[in-house]
């Protein structure tokens, strides 16, 4: 059985763990670096990106996760996770992980009163559209050559991307009952995606 770690510094990690267990994989919270050992994949959840980033730094998780990213380890980031995985971040004072070659804008849609939910077409998971929940969400400003945009809002803004075995989502599949994006990530973990 595949083992997936979910960074548990802060945020909605319990929701990811619950969805992963429904897909019959072992899922664990990761709070310190030694808990990264033996994993097949890693999820960086939604939460407050500055809290997660600061606690990753304090407990020496930044370099180990960067090393994993460099060797093509499967990592999926949602919302705050997407922010942390970017190479460059607007509206941010900490150093990002730089796992994916993309520019991301933090709190890009505005404050909480501008948070929204919408039906989102994501061709790689097929029909029907995914019910995407955006909370003080980021979006993708620019991507490098190796990065594919997986989904765009009707106005053309990129909100999901993939580079190698890494996936970044501006929204929160962990707040829905739709398992398709977690399945998509697990296919990558299993070398099928």
């Amino acid at each position: 059985m595949k083992k997936i770690g979910v960074l548990a510094q802060q945020g909605a990690f319990v929701e990811h763990i619950a969805l992963l267990r429904r897909l019959e994989v072992e899922a664990f919270p990761v709070r310190v670096a030694k808990e990264l050992d033996g994993l097949d994949g890693l999820i960086i959840p939604g939460g407050e990106s500055s809290s997660i980033g600061i606690l990753m730094k304090e407990y020496d998780l930044v370099e180990p996760v960067r090393r994993l990213a460099k060797r093509g380890f499967p990592i999926m980031g949602t919302c705050a996770g997407m922010i942390l995985m970017a190479k460059r971040i607007s509206g941010w004072h900490l150093e990002p992980l730089g796992a994916m070659d993309m520019d991301v804008r933090r709190n890009a849609f505005g404050r909480q009163v501008d948070s929204f939910e919408t039906a989102l077409e994501i061709p790689v998971i097929g029909k029907p559209p995914f019910h995407a929940v955006f909370i003080r969400a980021p979006y993708i400003e620019k991507v490098g050559d190796g990065v594919d945009i997986l989904a765009r809002l009707p106005n053309g803004i990129g909100v999901a991307a993939r580079e190698g075995s890494m996936v970044a989502l501006a929204f929160h599949p962990e707040l829905t009952n739709d398992l398709r994006l977690h399945s998509y990530f697990l296919d990558i973990v299993c070398g099928k995606g």
């Binding site: 548990a8 510094q9 802060q10 945020g11 909605a12 990690f13 319990v14 929701e15 709070r31 310190v32 939604g46 939460g47 407050e48 500055s50 809290s51 600061i54 606690l55 304090e58 919302c79 705050a80 509206g91 941010w92 933090r106 709190n107 404050r111 909480q112 009163v113 501008d114 948070s115 929204f116 939910e117 919408t118 929940v133 955006f134 909370i135 003080r136 929160h172 707040l175």
Partner: protein
């Protein structure tokens, strides 16, 4: 694109989980909080300990203070309105505050009615002392709950009492046969459908934090082990002798709440925690937790 929905309101509370929300009265406080790893700040004119000392009517903060704090940080900014004061709530929503706390720390504007929070696009957090109070607030539209504790005391005893009350009641409901749930809902003064939901899931339908009296990293971890999904720290940080260190330590203890070695480590050399108050020495009519119902 739907904004202000129940999902996005509850969703923000879910994103705050495992985090520390800090009371701040200046942009400098807010920056210290953000850099220490706070997941949000509560913008106030006075922290609860000062409200308690100074007496008088405590109202929503001056919008100038809130705007300055919003400018200073990129994390969510919360603000408090008085219980039942829906116009303060409307004003705070218009300011673009991310979360409203209908709070017993301020002087209630209405002793009979809380705000009908479903009317707002901004999410609300409300205090509770027991499960019935929590479910009444959720029914009115609170997207997040916090146990009240006794704010501004630096004494954890009331926070523990309220968290245990909520958790014990939920365990009891979960193990009840379904035909007893109606009578239980009547006894709690809570909507039956929410009691049924607790029976099925064993937890509140929204996120539940602890508040009111957290003054040390160990206090924060205690509340997390008792079932809180995150903590509010009011006076505990900026009334301590070294707010920066205290803030960092409480953030770490909240994440690593099950790791006694880390809690011991972060508790070293923090200087003096805020001075505490024995609850028994507070006159009954000066207690904050009984405000609201």
């Amino acid at each position: 694109m739907d904004k202000g929905t129940w999902t996005v309101k509850c969703g923000l509370a879910q994103m705050l989980k495992g985090g520390v929300i800090m009371d701040v009265v200046t942009p400098e406080h807010a920056k210290i909080s953000e850099e220490a790893g706070a997941c949000a700040v509560m913008a106030l004119e006075r922290v609860p300990a000062d409200i308690r000392d100074e007496g008088g009517v405590a109202r929503m903060a001056d919008p100038t203070v809130i705007e300055a704090i919003k400018e200073a940080v990129s994390i969510p900014v919360m603000a408090k309105c008085r219980i039942g004061h829906f116009v303060e709530a409307q004003a705070l929503e218009a300011l673009g505050v991310d979360f409203l706390d209908e709070s017993e720390v301020l002087t209630p504007a209405d002793e009979s009615h809380h705000i009908w929070k479903h009317d707002f696009k901004v999410p609300f957090v409300c205090g509770c002392r027991d499960l019935g109070e929590a479910l009444r607030r959720i029914a009115e539209g609170a997207a997040m709950i916090r146990t009240k504790g006794e704010a501004g005391t630096g004494n954890i005893v009331e926070a523990v009492r309220h968290m245990r009350a909520v958790m014990d009641e939920m365990r009891k409901i979960q193990s009840m046969p379904t035909d007893e749930l109606t009578a239980e809902a009547k006894a709690l003064g809570a909507p039956l459908e929410l009691v049924v939901e607790v029976h099925k899931t064993g937890k509140l339908p929204v996120v539940n934090f602890a508040a009111g009296g957290i003054a040390t990293p160990a206090d924060a971890a205690l509340m997390m082990q008792l079932g809180a999904e995150g903590v509010f720290v009011g006076s505990g940080i900026f009334k301590s002798s070294d707010p920066e260190q205290m803030a960092r330590a409480i953030v770490k203890a909240t994440t690593h709440y099950r790791d006694p070695e880390i809690i011991a480590e972060v508790s070293k050399g923090l200087g003096a925690a805020m001075p505490g108050i024995d609850i028994k020495t507070i006159p009954q009519d000066e207690l904050l937790a009984p405000r609201g119902w």
